[in-house]
Every structure is written in C-alpha cells, then in structure tokens.
Assembly symmetry: C3
Homo-oligomer: 206 residues x 3
C-alpha cells in the first residue's frame, strides 16, 4: 500500500511540523493570557489570532499540495485527517483566548490554568512528534502520553465544571466560564484525535 | 484521476443546485421570521422545516446515486463532502428558526438580522456556484467571497455575543439568544466548509 | 467493488455486535440512573463509564484490524464510519450519565425518561441489526425504525427544552438540565447516523 519514500514527502512533514509550532506558540500565549491584565490580554489574544491565521495558511498549503500530488507519503485520507486535527486544536485554543477577552473575564478558577498547562504539554509533544513521521521513531510514546494527558484534562474539566455551579454562582459568569473551559476541553480532544490519526498511520505501515 | 465527462454527472449537478435552491428559500424564510410576529413566525418556521425536509430528500437521492454509480464526476469523497455540507447549512438555519419559535423570543438584537443577511448572501452565491461545477467558471470568485462573508459573520457574531452579556442581562434570555446566534454562526461555518470543498475539487482537476 | 466473502469479515461483525451490546448496557444503566438516588447514581454512572471504556477497547480493535487487513468486508471508509458512529452513541450516553451525577441533579423532567426509553429502543434495534450485516436480512426495517425513533426523540427534546424555560425557571438548573438533554439528543442523532451508514453499505452492495 505504501510507495517507497518520495522526496515530495519531506514537504508534508515540514508543513505538519510548522503547523505544530503554531500550536506551541498558541498554547504559550493562552497561558500568558490567564496571568495578564485586561489590556495585555487583548494584545495577547490578538497574537493568538495571528498564530491561528498562520496555521490556517499552512493547512491551506497542505490541502493544495494534497490535491496536486499524485503520490502522498501516507494514505491521502490520513494526511487529510492530520491536517484538520491540527487545525481543530488551534481553532479551539484561539476560541478560548477570544472568549476570555470578549467576556471581559477577571480571575479564572485554578483548574483553568491546569487545563492550559496540559494543552501546552500536548503541543510540545505534538511538535516533537511531527518530524518523526519520517522515521516513526518514538511515536507510540507520543500517542500514549497524549491519551494520558487527555484523560487528565477530562478529570480537571469535570472538576472545574462541578465547582462552577457551587452555592451562590452567578448564572452569567457560569455561562461565560463554561464557554472557555468547553473550548479548552475541545482542544484536548483534538490533540487526542490527532494522536489517534498518527497511530492509524503507523498501524497501516507496520 | 478524472474520467472524461459522463452524462450521469449532469444528474449530480442538478441535485446540488436543487439543494442550494432550498438553502436560498430557507435563508429567505429566516429573514422573514425575524420581522414577523409570533403567529406568523410559527407558520414561517414550519415552512422552513418543509424546506429542510425537501433538502434532506435531495441529499438522500445524492447518497443513493453515489452508492450506485461507478464513475462519479469528481472523487467520491468530495461529492460526499459537498452533500453533507449542503445539509449542514440547512440544518443549522432550520435550528435557528425553530429555536426562535420554541423560545418565544420577542425582538432580537440588530446583529441577528445582519447575520441572517450574510447567510442570505451566502445562499445566493452557493446557488449560483453549484451549476458552475460543470464548467468551473467563476468558482474562485465564489469561494473567496464566501470566505470574506464568513469572516464578517464571525465579527458580527462576537459583537452580538459581547452585547448579550451587558449590564442587567437576564440569564434565561442570554441562553436563548445565544442558542439562536450559535446556530447562525454554525450555518456560516458550513457555507465556508462547502466553499472549501468546491475549492478542493477545482484544485484536483486543474 | 466487493470481494467475495472472506472469513476475516466474521471478526468485524462480531466486534460491531459486541460494541452494540455495550450500547444496550449503557442505555439500560442510563434508565436506572434516572430512577436512582444520589448514592446509587454515582455507582451506576461509574458502571456506565466502564461500559464506555469497554466500547472504546472494541473500537480500538476495529481500527487496528482495519489498518492491518487488506480486504475488508465492505468499503474501508464505511467500516470506519460505523465504528465512529457506535463510539459517538456511547460517548453521548456516557456524558449524559456523568452530567446527572456531576451536577447533583434531583428529579428530572418526565421527557428525559422518554428520551432515554427511545435510546434504549435504538440500542436494542442496533444490537439486533449488527450481526445481520452478514446476510443483510431485515436491515431496511432497522434503519426505517431508527429514523422514526430519532424524529420522535427530536420532538420530545424540543418539548423538554420549551418546558425548561417556563415561568420561574432557575437559570443554573436550566443550564444543567439542558446539558443532559443536549447529550441525549446527540445520542439519538448518532444512532441515526449509524443507521444511515448501514443503509449506505446495503445500497452499495445491491
């Protein structure tokens, strides 16, 4: 099913790695947004938006290359899946950052910082894994760890959600903060889907 | 990768155009719902539901034809993608109309009318673009304009959302109106995904 | 397009049936959660979580088998679609159960019980249909009935939603119960997508 390595493949791996670099930038900006005051937050969210646009550009380059390349390094639908998953990670992080600014939120529950720290770790691992699609070295460690981090994010998410509704909670604040943590949880899910996509590729080739 | 044009292709283009005609009807009904009183709204939402059912029927015909046709005019997965995107546009607009009636909403923020006007424009452009899948004439203009409209819808959506939570907002009204504008924003997203699908087809063939 | 039946196919049908058995267990647990008190609910939701994990394991086995099998009984993407739809049904039901416990909800509107009863019926029909992918016997009856049940679930969902917002509703309770019924409605949608996937397979083969 797999053709022998083609030089053209190199181009795709570089694009995936570039896309993951934007995720790393994005997750870092999200962490800084949490600690910043309102003026800084707007500026940081605008930088996060720039990272999102840059990632969009890369996704567009991959789609164009996929449409115009006859022999792709892996099955076309798996390449497509990786690209949209990378995009989904970025979109969800960008949405979280935007909502924090849009809703003029003040301090956020501690669990929100924990979720963002988990996303930063996911972004690091993903950024390290993408160039290894060339050799397949160390990829199982990557997807096992992402799955572990996503489970952890899920537990933190539920803890934050339960805490949100505690006695005396203001309904409008609940809606706003829930919007932010839902977006963070969606980002963790997308990192997991991306890792599952990498696993599918490795399974097919082995 | 592409087979020479087959007469059978004509059938698919007609179905896509028919589906887009239902979108145009749906977006028009949505605009009328905004300006109507409660009794009229229920009647218009029911007509919107009929348009949704009719579009569903067309999607079903496409899926049946795809399953039974050996040579499709474009890659099978791209045809499938177009069909589900057309369906998603309709579902989201129908949901918005239903929620307005179900929640017995009165006047809606001005931005809601702006969003619906943008969707009407998207539906017009989509309806004009579908028959041009035959010749590929003017398709880049179509997808560039849809992307521009979606960006505009995104800005309007965020403005409406920020406005919703302003001083003295009633939480239940916020939940209801947010449900409606979330559905409108999802419709704009689906129009963009549809346009991206058309772009993929053109890229593959050129 | 179809290769002659291969013994390997049997393995896939057994996995789909096993996955559907977990759906049946899950829907039953969900029904018991509604009638239970808080202590029992936590225990039942934990069993529901176990069923979800078990279903996840099965999905993983299908993906591994798909990646490693050269000739699959049906088109690869249709097998993939069935597997993710089965998974989506389970995830949505598990989410509903978890939220009931997490939000410490007391009694739920009557319509919630109706929705769960509809999901139980969907799970039964799905469990009966999966082994019949071997012979195709009685599959149209299955997907027609699922479509009917999904339409019914949609009407119940809207009735519950409208009722939720009635005079004197507490916004936090609205957010919580809406989270639960949104998850139940998503489960019904996923059962319908699964049935549509089965229909696609049958259309392709006939």
């Amino acid at each position: 099913m797999r053709f022998s390595p083609v030089p053209r493949g190199a181009h795709f791996f570089e694009l995936f790695t570039e896309s993951a670099a934007h995720l790393l930038t994005g997750a870092g900006l999200l962490a800084r947004i949490l600690g910043a005051d309102r003026t800084e937050r707007a500026e940081l969210a605008s930088q996060l938006g720039d990272a999102e646009h840059a990632a969009d550009e890369v996704a567009h380059q991959v789609f164009t290359a996929l449409a115009q390349t006859f022999v792709t390094p892996f099955d076309r639908e798996d390449m497509y899946h990786l690209t949209t998953s990378l995009d989904d990670c970025m979109d969800a992080m960008d949405e979280a950052g935007e909502l924090i600014v849009l809703y003029k939120l003040g301090g956020l529950p501690a669990g929100v910082g924990d979720l963002v720290a988990l996303l930063q770790r996911c972004a690091e691992l993903t950024h390290e894994a993408m160039p290894r699609l060339r050799s397949f070295d160390g990829l199982p460690e990557y997807w096992i760890e992402i799955n572990r981090l996503e489970n952890q994010a899920d537990r933190v998410y539920r803890r934050v959600l339960a805490g949100l509704f505690e006695d005396g909670a203001d309904p409008l604040t609940v809606i706003k903060v829930k919007g932010v943590v839902d977006a963070l949880e969606a980002a963790a899910d997308s990192f997991e889907k991306l890792a599952n996509g990498v696993q599918t590729i490795v399974l097919k080739e082995s």
